[in-house]
Symmetry: C2
Subunit: 366 residues, 2 copies
């Protein structure tokens, strides 16, 4: 544990994370609690906190862990969960979300974290940070509990856009592989394309085209292409990165979360019924806690926006201190790894390789 | 328990189910074991069993429960899991699958059950039974463990087709509601349309069109339309029938199954580690068994093909006796309820109502 290491000399090397304090379901208190957790476990981190200064100032003052490591940037307005992205794009200036993103644009922070409205965050990130050269559709990548040694797989897009063309799938593959290399420490991630069957003749036309391009770009993008994968493979150890369009990815993500939640509730019910069961639950408390930790969505909190000139981490709207701290940890890791520059280089070279495949037409189609 | 009630007088009232004995992963022995289970628990059921007579005859003879209640129809050929649907359509005559479907076509059986190749079963069902008048795309409906009092929701399409237009979604809604009325005994099922958000302005264009038609056909189709639902609502008590295209539905189904399997395995692991945990698991055995029973995919085994002139139940390829018996129970319930005639009437009247909405253009679009 480290706390209160606030000498200016150390501060100079710190990784700065820009944090939107407002707009989450639990308000700024949960966000500040997350900063405190992060500051305790990571002595090389500092924060730019955006929101209502009158509210934030006393909250920060209460925590010595944050002394000298958290600068407040006043923003009077808040993006709510009900605001439409199109409105926020026009009138978002002066909100804490806009201000938090602009700190990354200005190079003052290595990444931005927000618990706010996903659509608005993506819209503002697009207009303020702009897309990386060569990227058509940015994507949101999430982590998914899996049977792999690291415990997680990457899936994208889980909701930035509702459709994707063949070239978009290739870009998702390239960006997802870069994320897995820097976020999960995998040298050569295995990438799969989500489909309704693993046979090459199955599925939608754009998926067959994407299959060829993803296979051709294997070397340039630095991944191993395992071909089509199915829904059951998402939590498996067959693959590290699952590529899909934002509509399908969002449905899969929420279906998985809903199923896990149902089972957890049924489990609680089962152990709550009858004295013997309650006793057993007490005895098994450690086992159950281990399991819960493994599938706890708060621990893998943080959808990363890929394909922009800046790293944006979207925390769950309902995130508590643990969830916010997880999102900040992820943001700091990506900021430190030089992830963004590497990703930009891969997108450029993989794009050329995929294009060659499209032109040569060395198709695998039936 | 009832067994051996084989007098011809009773046999005359029996519900006859046509069963494809071949093509499942576990071979005909698992299918025959399922017949035995079904015969024991349902004295009013009889079977037409299709497959290799030399193999089936001695298997049937061993079980007194099946005496006088199981007629074998010899079919020399088998559709394998690797056969392509297009090939089976051309050359499928003489297979046990073809023969099993034809018994329904000829009116000899009230429904057909097969553990074989899904694509081939759908293709053969289409050409032998033909689509119901007014149905454009038949669908596969599955049951999904849920928080509803009955314990299950219906989702369709989970893989008959990879795309769907606005009018298809309306037909799925109508057919799914009819299935929920007759299969889950719900008077006025609540129907939701799967999307990436519940706001009306979100999602693909065909979903916005479908939204209007499904709302307009509420009365004619006999359901309550709850609007858009998300992936997390699939196992919820907000809705009874979830309508989606076959691509998305298949991914959601397999993602849910994969997630449940992962958690079950982690749970086993957690209770296997350490003596105290093992002891607790023993104490909690009944609780854990109750939970397992609740989410056991074998108990809800049976995808139903909707929109054909005949009831077809697709059992999991890997189904064991319990799984096959569940599929047969479902087939018998649908055969007895007069489901097919009612469904045909609903499709006709809902189609007219949805068409009126399209013509009048009383749109909810932005």
């Amino acid at each position: 544990m480290v706390n209160g290491t606030s000498s200016p000399a150390q501060g100079a090397q710190r990784t700065v994370i820009s944090v939107d304090a407002m707009g989450g379901d639990r308000g700024p208190a949960a966000v500040v609690a997350g900063l405190v957790d992060s500051a305790r476990s990571d002595s090389d981190i500092a924060f730019l906190l955006h929101g209502d200064e009158a509210v934030l100032r006393p909250m920060i003052a209460r925590h010595t862990e944050l002394a000298g490591r958290c600068e407040i940037r006043h923003a009077a307005r808040v993006v709510t969960m009900n605001d439409k992205p199109s409105q926020v794009m026009r009138n978002g200036e002066g909100t804490s979300m806009w201000s938090a993103i602009d700190a990354v644009k200005a190079g003052e922070a290595g990444a931005v974290v927000s618990c706010g409205n996903t659509g608005a965050l993506m819209a503002l990130s697009m207009i303020r940070l702009r897309k990386l050269p060569g990227v058509n559709r940015p994507a949101i990548a999430c982590l998914w509990p899996s049977r792999n040694p690291g415990g997680f797989n990457v899936m994208l897009d889980v909701g930035a856009d509702i459709k994707a063309e063949a070239e978009d799938f290739l870009q998702y593959a390239t960006m997802g592989a870069a994320y897995a290399r820097n976020g999960l420490n995998l040298k050569r991630p295995r990438v799969g394309l989500l489909n309704v069957g693993t046979e090459e003749h199955k599925g939608r036309a754009e998926l067959k085209l994407a299959f060829d391009r993803m296979a051709a770009a294997e070397e340039a993008a630095g991944y191993e292409f395992v071909g089509f994968v199915e829904g059951g493979d998402i939590p498996s150890d067959r693959v590290d990165v699952i590529v899909t369009d934002g509509f399908t990815g969002n449905i899969a993500l929420k279906t998985g979360e809903g199923t896990a939640k149902l089972i957890a509730d049924l489990l609680k019910e089962a152990f709550g019924a009858g004295l013997l069961s309650k006793f057993a639950a007490l005895l098994a408390l450690n086992s159950l806690k281990r399991l819960q930790k493994r599938i706890d969505p708060r621990r893998v909190n943080g959808g990363v926006f890929l394909g922009l000139n800046g790293t944006v981490v979207k925390s769950h709207g309902s995130a508590d201190a643990t969830g916010v701290a997880a999102a900040i940890r992820l943001a700091a890791q990506l900021a430190r790894s030089g992830f963004l520059d590497r990703l930009a280089a891969r997108v450029a070279s993989a794009g050329r390789a995929g294009q060659d495949a499209a032109v040569n037409g060395s198709g695998q189609q039936e």
